[in-house]
């Protein structure tokens, strides 16, 4: 059971990286929108796991994407930020009861799930585009990119989420 569980996460990691770099990095919807569906890994990752390991995994995921897209370590910086902030976001969305043993993501309401995912995406994209553009003079451009790409990411993540729903966890 335990090995099965790790196996699932490893497969998920590899598949999400490949899907991201081979499909979604080439999308260029409207010329600049490349949705970042790999955030789903951090969204799905089990809650009761060691936090340090989670941040480490987030870094690995980000750096893997960075290697493929020649973006230095921008993806890595964004993923570790949401990996670090995830408990705070979850506490905000689900209240204190997410710390209970019986808490399951699939037992929460649809609105809560979407809010949780949207918050992860917004934080991730804010860090990402701020670092990518690297000047606060272009703050409006950053906001525009965050909104446009964020919406696309959210929609695609929701679609993927309903395709591969996490029933067993």
């Amino acid at each position: 059971m335990v090995s099965n569980y790790y196996f699932l996460n490893v497969i998920r990691f590899i598949l999400l990286v490949l899907v991201q770099v081979l499909v979604f990095n080439k999308l260029n919807f409207f010329g600049f929108i490349n949705p970042m569906v790999y955030i789903l890994f951090l969204y799905w990752y089990p809650i009761k796991e060691n936090r340090a390991a989670f941040i480490g995994l987030g870094f690995l995921l980000g750096i893997a994407i960075d290697f493929f897209s020649d973006t230095m370590a921008i993806h890595a910086a964004s993923t570790i930020t949401i990996a670090y902030m995830r408990p705070a976001i979850m506490r905000f969305v689900f209240g204190v009861n997410f710390e209970f043993q019986s808490f399951k993501l699939s037992n929460t309401t649809r609105v809560q799930q979407i809010t949780y995912l949207a918050l992860l995406i917004i934080v991730h994209h804010l860090v990402f585009f701020t670092l990518e553009i690297f000047s606060l003079a272009n703050f409006l451009l950053i906001l525009k990119k965050v909104l446009a790409t964020g919406t696309a990411t959210l929609i695609l993540c929701l679609l993927f989420g309903s395709l591969f729903s996490v029933r067993k966890e």
Partner: protein
């Protein structure tokens, strides 16, 4: 001592986060001021091979148009060759050639970021080295930045760090070609003096001041021009000939005199102090 250890244990997640953040920011900021990192690029073995495999599959869908493009180019070259007046024997001795050309295929292209890099399937094994020019049949593409054994990354002209010598065709007024990161089909030519007569539609080509590109490689046409804030130089919007979103076959240009030129320039600089 006990307290310090307690502190570290208590805040270990935060410290790990800060540490990893510093590492990533370090890589990122270093690349802003200087070249792309030697290690963090898609020309390494794993990413190169995965991208190449994926590209091998997707190439099939564009074979037809790609062939037509190459046929058109051949047609142009044949036209030039047949209409050449003084038909002497053309010596193709490799010792006498200034420029040698390698062909390559694009396996990864990007144009939506402020700093775009293209990965090609030729590397140091095929004698591709950093700072060689890369062009397509229609125009200029970029400069090789890093190479591995089988792959190379190219700094696209759609990169805010890109700076290439360019001039207006049939004149000797040259300036620098840069990109304002706004649109993927428009780049900017700056530092053209105010007294130069310009017309919309004029062709922009590479200048002879660079040791990377040969002179007169097409870049694009003038789309719009304005004086800059100091009112003494033009900022020209150049519409590219290349469709940067659809690139397959590229040519890598090696200038065999480049090292000699660089050595000479360096010598002059040190002597001039």
């Amino acid at each position: 001592m006990q307290q310090i250890i307690n502190f570290i244990i208590r805040y270990k997640n935060f410290l790990l986060y800060v540490f990893l953040m510093i590492v990533s920011l370090g890589f990122t900021i270093q690349s802003h001021s200087y070249h792309q990192s030697r290690f963090f690029n898609s020309s390494n073995w794993i990413t190169g091979n995965i991208l190449e495999t994926s590209n091998d599959v997707s190439t099939y869908f564009g074979l037809d148009t790609e062939n037509q493009k190459l046929m058109r180019e051949n047609q142009n070259l044949r036209k030039l060759l047949f209409n050449k007046k003084e038909l002497d024997t053309i010596v193709l001795d490799s010792v006498q050639l200034t420029y040698t050309i390698t062909t390559g295929k694009v396996i990864k292209n990007s144009f939506a970021d402020p700093r775009n890099y293209i990965t090609i399937d030729q590397g140091s094994k095929d004698s591709v080295a950093p700072d060689m020019g890369v062009i397509t049949s229609q125009g200029i593409l970029g400069i090789v930045e890093n190479t591995s054994k089988n792959f190379a990354t190219v700094q696209s002209i759609l990169n805010e760090k890109s700076n290439i010598n360019a001039k207006i065709k049939n004149t000797d007024h040259f300036g620098s070609l840069v990109w304002d990161t706004k649109r993927y089909n428009v780049v900017q030519l700056i530092d053209i003096p105010r007294l130069v007569p310009l017309t919309i539609g004029d062709t922009i080509v590479t200048g002879g001041m660079s040791s990377i590109f040969p002179e007169n490689i097409p870049i694009g046409t003038i789309r719009k021009f304005d004086l800059n804030t100091s009112q003494s130089f033009y900022t020209i919007d150049v519409a590219l000939f290349n469709d940067m979103t659809n690139i397959k076959n590229v040519y890598i240009i090696d200038n065999s005199y480049r090292e000699e030129i660089l050595k000479l320039e360096k010598l002059t600089e040190t002597n001039g102090q």
